[in-house]
């Protein structure tokens, strides 16, 4: 069956796009994300066993998260994109499905401030624990007095 029938059967609203090198990107709603990922992992049609990467993006008016999946069985790759709100970006965590999501989500939280619900241990991973702010955001200004040596 084609993807449209599959999406209609599971009542999912997914828009399909392509990126510059002709890879598939699916735009998914925030609420449907966990359900879609479960289907991607378990359904015989897809069989995406690997979550390769989790990319957080700061587009000035909103946040986006891009997931990169790969199926070793079918030799196929797939990207999923969700759009999050600008203030307080919150999205479901994929740690229950893919163990590789653990550290990727921690990094996303660390650098961009996107919160992942139901993450076992969401804390900073690359920056020191007492860092203030999320550096990769476009509006990040370093205002920490303890780092004033840096401004000379």
């Amino acid at each position: 069956m084609s993807f449209e029938e599959f999406f209609n059967r599971h009542e999912l609203n997914i828009i399909q796009e392509k990126d510059a090198s002709d890879n598939d990107i699916w735009l998914v709603n925030q609420n449907d994300l966990l359900k879609v990922c479960e289907l991607l992992k378990t359904d015989r049609l897809f069989n995406y066993e690997m979550l390769l990467a989790l990319i957080g993006l700061d587009c000035v008016s909103h946040f986006e998260v891009l997931y990169s999946f790969y199926s070793v069985k079918n030799h196929k790759k797939l990207f999923l994109k969700t759009v999050l709100q600008k203030e307080n970006p919150v999205v479901e965590s994929l740690c229950g499905l893919y163990s590789s999501a653990n550290w990727h989500e921690r990094e996303c939280f660390d650098l961009l401030g996107i919160e992942f619900l139901n993450h076992p241990k969401l804390e900073r991973i690359l920056l020191p624990k007492d860092w203030i702010g999320h550096p990769l955001r476009k509006d990040y200004k370093e205002e920490d007095e303890r780092l004033s040596w840096n401004r000379r």
Partner: protein, 392 residues
Amino acid sequence: MITEELKINIGPQHPSTHGVLRLVADLDGEYIRDIEAKIGYLHRGMEKLAESRNYHQYLPMVDRIDYLSGFFNSASFCYAVEGLAGIKVPKRAEYLRLITMELNRISSHLLWLGTFLLDLGATSPLFYCLREREEIVKILENLTGQRMMYNYYCFGGVRKDMPDGWLGSVRDFCESFPAKIDDYEKLITENPIFLERTKGVGVISQEMALDFGITGANLRASGVKFDARKNMPYSVYKDFNFDIPIHQEGDCYARYQVRLLEMRESCHLIQKAITRIPGGASEKLKVKRTNCGCNKPECAFCGDETKVFFKKTNPLVLKIPTSEITTFVESSRGLSTCYVRANGTNMPDRVKWRTPSFSATQILPELCKGGLYADIMAILGSLDIVLPEVDR
């Protein structure tokens, strides 16, 4: 007398760990009850730096993300920008990229081998591996002028053509190299102490590897045949017929064997590429070009395929419209992806690196729990983790 658990801190500075990795272990005698990996000591903000530099200024910085396999990072960024901007790369440049990438793979594996055995206690093989690596580094210095951070690829090809006699030196190296790998095998592969320390240690099952996103030789040693050079072909790998070595056991010994086989395969690949490079060796090409002088695009000597770049891109003018792209490259440690998002200016909007050592460091605590303290070094060495890749 009550025995308590001992909380011990391994690193961040340590003679053994391959970079600044900190492991906090709860020891019960020699057994590890719990271990946690803390990273971030080498975080340089590579991704944020990209947002304030234009594409040409960022390109030399890309080599330094993993300095032991600089060509692969450079290649993935170059392919990303070329894909976004629609820049074509001539065939000769692609062949040069392939040869240099495979040479880099061999040199990275040699350093891995030397330091892996040094961690286990054997001090001599390091010097032999470094001797071979010195030859490769000299070859690459002749080509690019640099021993480590090569900065050789540019958008649209490579910066300049090979010097005279370079192809002959690569051929000589490839002829002498398999004998050296045989030497290492004689010294190490059947050594009973080495077998005892690596067989059955740090077993990664197939499901665990796929779940944690492990790629590269670590995945191939667990029985999964996945190599980005075959499954997501880039450059001119489509034209070559080469083997992907896999092993089924998934322990340290299997990873060691897979990497040795990979070194041999890279050597074969380079030898084949040398015979097929369009235009051949540069000294002969120059002579033939002068003799031919036709300047037709299909000519075998002065045509398009024998150039190393079609048109050099101008850093002030290269503005890429809003689009995004992800490129996949098989680096020496695994699958390395580069995501670039352009926004119409001459600076990228977002660059993200997904590096293979990040996933390997994530799986390290799972493998070490329940094992012995002395196994940490064997597992850490066999996973081929390089910290600049993890922290970026």
